[in-house]
Amino acid sequence: MTYFAKMRHVNAWLFLLPAMALIVAFTHVPAVNTFINSFFLDGRGGMPAEFVGLENFRYLLEDEVFLKVLRNNLLFASGTIPLSISLAMVMALLVNAKLPGQAWLRLSYFVPTVLPMIAVANIWLFFFTPEYGLLEQVRSFLGFSGVNWLGSESTALICIIAVAVWKDAGFFMIFYLAALQQVPPSLGEAAMLEGASRFCYYRRIVFPLLMPTTLFVLVNATINAFRMVDHLFVLTQGGPNNASSLLLYYIYEVSFKYWDTGYGATLTLVLLGFLGLASIIQFGVIEKRVHYR
């Protein structure tokens, strides 16, 4: 190796070492350990763990709570992701349009991002409270029949989704806003000269140009869909009857309330599987289609 090449390697590795060490210690090692632990049954009261082979996985398939939670999480993802992304895009377009009070609009859309979820969940709890909660006051004003928003299996998850969308949309909006500002105005002028309507301009020019941003946001939204559980602690604790429980919350319960670490590891592995799958699909399939640069 030449002098230059040697310098390069030594320096590069030195710079990387601290960060890499931490990342490996808190991402890769635990991921591998999770895999190993999923083959063990936890010992109680300080007893050593017992190797049980695939039993945890077998149990996974019989565990109705798990199946329900999994279903919930998929519903949660398929609710929050498209909703928050499309709302973010709409917000960005509105904010970008220089409407009166632009700064206030931006502030209002973005503020949820800054507030701690755990705190605002309490406020949402009020909104969802039956009888006199805000939603109910509006509802009774409109004269619909009462809904026990968080207390009913059919609506609890919807509420959870609503809060998540509220929280995320403003954050994603910033990315769209940044991307929109990079679209040269001359493209719009060219399209206008060609006779394109407003709808046509957005559909044929703007949305395709935002695709790379959408990909980025999509990745983040997907991760969030499997990560965002803070509001569950306040709003429903996963109930009623696990109707609003999500995978990570279930992992928390299994691992830290029931201390079934082995099964917790198995569940974590499922979660990792989903995240991995999502990333492969997103980077592998979608990226090929959206890339234009």
């Binding site: 006779g195 394109a196 640069r293």
Partner: protein
């Protein structure tokens, strides 16, 4: 009939008079160049024609129709932008056909027009590429293609060549001009490059500070600049503009008793003379000292000091005159220009 007519058109932004009471006509099938230094209002004028800006006052006609209040999409004209404004996510084909699709032109017709444009512009092999995979010149041609298929009778271009390198620019210039002539398009072309303007235009409108300085053919601007501004703007290197003074022996170049200018009727004039019309000639009447010699490719420019004024002299090829050498200069008698010292206007 004129293809475009502007009547007392103005466009102000607050106190900025970007375009200030401009009137002109563009003849059907001709190429008009809007020329002027940066910020003089060229782009604004063009965008007013296109409808991308609203007039503050005045009227705009395209053909015989007043379009002052029509939106751009209904003015039926094509435009090529400085940065081409190609849609980066669409292929060349889709870019060219964009407007036709939007306007719901039937498939067969679309195909026909595309084929024709592709043929004219030689884009055949590029149709499925994205703009990012094209060179500047190719992008330029796609932008032209988009304008062509619209089959609008008027085509506007805003500095379409300024992003290209010198060689390509020259080629494209030729190509655009040929196309415009063969298709009989009416074209308004914006540039700040006088060479480009001179080599392409049927007519040139020279703008300064939002107002028209001179409106004429290239030859007129070259040989009869209406003002010092025009004289200084047209030609490479620009016309020498020399101060005069009166001394015992008549009117001379300022600071030099013997460089006489018998044609001058007053010392209160500025003498204009192009570097091409000056020659090193032992029989010449002006004595000067060489200051710098610059090779400029096409030839060289020798700067000489005569009196208190510096004169540029064009010479072909490479020259080997050392700075400091003494020279005598001869000038073409019938190529002198005189301007009022105060107003800058041609005498």
């Amino acid at each position: 009939m004129s293809a475009i007519r502007m009547e007392h058109v103005s466009r102000h932004w607050g106190s900025v008079l970007a375009v200030d009471d401009i009137s002109f006509e563009v003849e059907q099938g001709s190429l008009l160049v809007l020329l002027g230094p940066s910020g003089c209002g060229k782009s604004t004028t063009l965008r007013l024609i296109a409808g991308l800006e609203e007039v503050t006052s005045g009227h705009i006609f395209i053909g015989d129709k007043q379009v002052t209040n029509l939106p751009p999409s209904r003015r039926q004209l094509a435009m090529v932008f400085q940065s081409y404004a190609l849609f980066p996510h669409l292929t060349v084909r889709e870019n060219i056909l964009f407007g036709l699709k939007v306007r719901k032109v039937p498939q067969a017709e679309r195909r026909k027009r595309l084929a024709r444009a592709v043929d004219i512009l030689g884009l055949g092999s590029l149709l499925d590429r994205k703009p990012s995979a094209l060179s500047g010149g190719q992008q330029q041609r796609v932008a032209l293609g988009r304008a062509l298929v619209a089959e609008a009778s008027v085509c506007l271009m805003d500095e379409p060549l300024s992003n290209l390198d010198a060689k390509l620019r020259q080629e494209m210039r030729r190509e655009i001009r040929a196309l415009q002539q063969s298709l009989g398009m009416t074209m308004v072309y914006v540039t700040h490059d006088q060479v480009e303007a001179m080599s392409m235009a049927d007519r040139i409108i020279l703008l300064e500070g939002g107002r028209i300085v001179q409106n004429g053919t290239p030859a007129e601007l070259f040989s009869q600049p209406a003002t010092v501004f025009t004289a200084n703007f047209i030609g490479t290197p620009p016309m020498n503009l020399l101060g005069l003074s009166r001394c015992s022996c008549g009117i001379t170049i300022a600071g030099c008793d013997e460089a006489r200018v018998p044609q001058a009727d007053s010392a209160d004039r500025i003498l204009g003379i192009r570097p091409e019309h000056l020659f090193f000639d032992p029989e010449g009447g002006w004595h000067g000292i060489v200051e710098t010699v610059e090779y400029l490719g096409f030839g060289s420019v020798v700067t000489c000091r005569v009196g208190s004024e510096a004169l540029a002299v064009s010479v072909e090829g490479m020259v080997t005159l050392a700075p400091g050498s003494q020279v005598t200069l001869r000038y073409l008698q019938d190529r002198l220009h005189f301007f009022h010292k105060q107003t800058g206007e041609r005498v």
